[in-house]
Structure formats: C-alpha cells, structure tokens
Amino acid sequence: MENSSSTTPASFDQLNRDWYIDKAVQILVFIGGISAIVFIVGIFVFISKEGFGFLFGEFNFREFFFSPNWRPTSESKETFGILALIAGTASVTGLAMLIAIPFSLGTAIFIAEFSSGKTREVLKVTVELLAAIPSVVWGFIGLAIMNPIIIQTFNVPVGLNVLNAGVILGLMAAPIMTSIAEDALKAVPDRYREAAEAMGATRWQVIYKVVLPAAKNGLLGAVLLGVGRGFGETMAVLMATGHSINIPTSVFDSVRALTATIAAELGETAAGSPHYQALFTIGIFLFIVTFIINLIADLVVRGVRKG
C-alpha cells in the first residue's frame, strides 16, 4: 500500500474559514440563548433588592397575605395587606377564563377542524390581529363602551367592575389561547382523523373521541398561558376594574388588581420608603406566581411532545 498518494493528516486537519465561521456562529447563538437567562435572573435580583428592605423589615406575613387593608399612606398606621388585591386579580382572571376558554377552544376547533381554504386564512389572520391590539385600547373599550352598557343593562351605579374587566380580559386572552390551541389541534396527524373516519365516526365523534384527547396537553397549555396573561395584565384591568380596594361579593363590585396597584402607585412613592418596597414585594409575589404558572404550562406542553 502506497501512503504517499493519499492525503497527509495535516492536509485536512486545518482550522479553515468554515471552521472559524462555525465557531463564531456557535458563540453568537450561545450569547443569544444565555442572555434570556441573564435578563430573567437580573430582573429577579433587581425586584428582590428593592423589595428586600420591606421583606426583612416591616413585612408581616399574616398582614401581607391575610389583611384586606391596603393603606400604605395612612397617617395613623400604615397597613400593607394585599388580600383584597389578590381577590381582585383572581376574580377578574377567573371570570376572564370562564369567557375565554369556551370562546378560544371553539374558535380553535372551528379553524383547525371545520374551516378550510380562504375561510381559515382569513380567520387566522383576524385572530392574530386581535392578539396584537394594545392593552390600553382594550382598557379604553372597557372604559368608554363596556362601562355605559353595563350601567344601562344591569341598572348598577358603576360599570367599572369585575364583570367589565373580566370580559375585557377574556377577550384579550382569547386570541393567544386560540392560536396555541389551534397549533395543538393541527399537531394531531391527519392519519388519526382518517382512521377514525374510516371506522364510521362522525366529524364530531372524531374530534371528541380522538383529536381532543390527542391534543389535550397542548390545549391545557393554552389555557394556562391564558391564565398567565390574565394574571399579568395591567393597563386594561387598571382602566376597567374601577380600581377600588374591595373583596368582591358580586361581579358588579369594583376591585383592584395587584398589577394595577403597582402601576398606579409606584410613581408617587419615595424611593426606598416602606410603601415603595411593599410594591416591589408585590412584584416579587407576581413574579413567583407567573413563574409557577408558566412552569406548569411548560411542563404540560412538554408532555405533549413525549406522548
């Protein structure tokens, strides 16, 4: 065997241009990927730093979570209870989900299973457009349109309440939930549908017995992302809830949301004051809750891929 004619080791083991480009791209992509983590950690550290003074000072676990009295500027005695704010956020988000879940699942099923061609394209674009409407516009709709409608229809003194914000938030969350739910339905392979139809399943039976069970994790993920969206929404709820501290007993009660409280009050507090730090503590709480919701959504959606 003649070795002289074959390539010498050195001739192909070169760090050539392709190799450097590849390395550079790897590093760039790595920085991009790692930056998301850096930002998240950075935000958490920042919020925590601002809130920690309160957390280790005036913070009283029982008062903070179980007192409905949010009186950060009281002359006699300041109290920092966020129970009413939690109740406000929870009631509005809950009502929003009651509205958004049937709406978005219905729309997603129609788009994915029943429409075709032009109808489907138009619907998809419309839904995406809806998702892109700024939240302040939704808040404006709540303030200027929903408010008088609620006052007239239900004969109540104030139209800025749980009902108003719940409807607005539901309509806001529905498009993004629809989008994700539709993706989940589309991910169910057509051969499943054909196999079921070949057995004589009607269209509804195919959806109910085969497609929905197959897509259930993705659909659950869509719902949880909707909940996260509702929980974190600020501007629209600030405008539509009435922004008054209340533990609601009916949908016509005005409430105040956690997010809206931060948005409305932070600008008027002295940096470093207990009030300022308490608002950041609310921020930490929101951060943790949203993180948990997203984590569950992520785990659930991951379940889809495995199944």
Binding site: R191, E194, A196, A198, M199, G200, K209, P213, G307
Partner: protein
C-alpha cells in the same frame, strides 16, 4: 349472494385517471384478492368503496359501486356505511388512546357502554389479531407507542371490533413480520365464515394462499378477474397477468 358489485368504475384525480373500466361482483364470504404493482389503482378502489373520496376534493368517482344493494355514491349516511366496512391501511395507525380504547372505540361509537361487553369484544378482537398475549397486561398504555408490527395488528383488531360485513385489507403485511403475517392469514381464513374480505396485496403468493378469486390491476386498468388457482396455473386470458404472477415484472 353478491356483497359488492362494481360496474364501469372510473376514478380520477384532477385530470389524471387512476382507475377505469372496472367491473366485477364480489360474493358474500369470499376472499377477493387484488394484486398489482404500485400505482395500479388498488388503494383508490378501496377509498371509493367506503367513500373516503370525500376527504380528497380532487378525487372523482364515476360508475357504480353497490354494497348490499345500496349504491354507495347515493348514500346519505356515509357513517353508517363505513361502520359496516372495516379498513386496514398499509401503514399502521395506532390512535393516541390506550390499547383498550383503540379497540373499544368502534363499539362505543355504536352506543355500547357496558364494560363487560366491551371487555369481551376487546379480548376477542385482540386475540384474533394475534396481539392479545403481548398486550393483555398493559391494555392501559398508549396504542401509538406500540411497535410498528404491533400497531398494525392493533389496527386489524380495531377493524374487527367494528364487526364488519366487509373487511378491506390494504397490504396489511407491509409492516408485520412473516410469522405474524402467517398467524393473521390463518385468522382471515377463519373469518371468511362471517365476513367478506377484500385483500389488496403486493405479495402474489399471499393472494394465492388466501383468495378465492383474484383481480389483477395494472396501471389503472383491471386486466383480469379469475379464480385464483387459474391465474397461478397459467390459465389466464391476458399474457400480462401471467408475467406478473410469475414475477417477470413489477
């Protein structure tokens, strides 16, 4: 008694003709083989029988297919038709449900709710499809996670669970090992007492083993229909049939 009567069938996709000039009758309790190379129109034929053409807007079916004295092109409730016809596709489709639910799906669609009845159906169908022994201890696991060959047998069990009058198998052995194939073939021989079977196959020897009569499809034409034995002993009307069964092309 004639179970399925086909006359002057023509199937087109857009402008292209997939199958034309097909006319034959299939008798009750007969195993009717259809052999032929790829693109002969075999699968299109099956699709036309149980009205799967509805899923394909390009597919046009002309001529007449009569099942149980009913013209399938004029049928109003296609679901009722499809429930009487079991289909096994060439590639296995284990639905993403539990193994049990895969087989119980069809009885449930027909309104069977009793657990005890369903248990009996599931066991019987899985046994017939030669799958029971392998899965009886894990009926709750996902059907779509079985191996290819197991999924194919699951598909067969599901088709049997429809308690069909007509069973159409489209190259069922493509994803199944030879031993299992022989076991399923034995089951098919048994089933002929109750069911009429259309067996589409690439394997001419499989048609020889099972089919009473066999049709030879080639390039969208039905070249010949005859007793299977005649086709294999050279008593053919068309030279191309002899060439095909003797493996000289295709």
């Amino acid at each position: 008694m004639v179970k399925l009567s086909v006359s002057d069938l023509q199937i087109r996709y857009g402008g292209a003709t997939a199958l034309e000039g097909v006319s034959f009758d299939i008798q009750e309790h007969e195993i009717f083989g259809i052999i032929g190379p790829a693109n002969a129109g075999k699968t299109s034929f099956l699709k036309a029988v149980n009205r799967m053409d509805m899923f394909d807007p390009d597919m046009r079916v002309d001529g007449k297919i009569v099942f149980n004295d009913v013209d399938v092109s004029k049928i109003r409730n296609v679901y009722g038709l499809r429930r009487r016809i079991g289909v096994v596709f060439p590639l296995p489709v284990g639905l993403p449900l539990s193994i049990y639910d895969n087989v119980a799906l069809s009885p449930r669609l027909n309104g069977q709710k009793k657990k005890a009845e369903l248990d009996i159906i599931v066991e019987r169908c899985l046994t017939r499809a030669a799958l029971w022994d392998e899965v009886k201890d894990r009926l709750d696991s996902l059907g779509s996670l079985l191996s290819g060959g197991q999924q194919q047998r699951l598909t067969i069990a599901r088709a049997l669970s429809q308690d069909p009058e007509l069973l159409m198998l489209d190259e069922f052995s493509i994803a199944v090992d030879p031993v299992t194939t022989m076991r399923i073939e034995d089951v098919l021989k048994e089933l002929r007492k109750e069911v009429t079977i259309i067996l589409v196959t690439n394997l001419v020897q499989q048609a020889r083993r099972l089919a009473d009569r066999t049709a030879f499809f080639l390039e969208g034409q039905c070249v010949e229909v005859g007793m299977t034995e005649d086709l294999f002993t050279g008593e053919v009307k068309d030279q191309r049939t002899r060439d095909y069964v003797e493996g000289r092309f295709g």
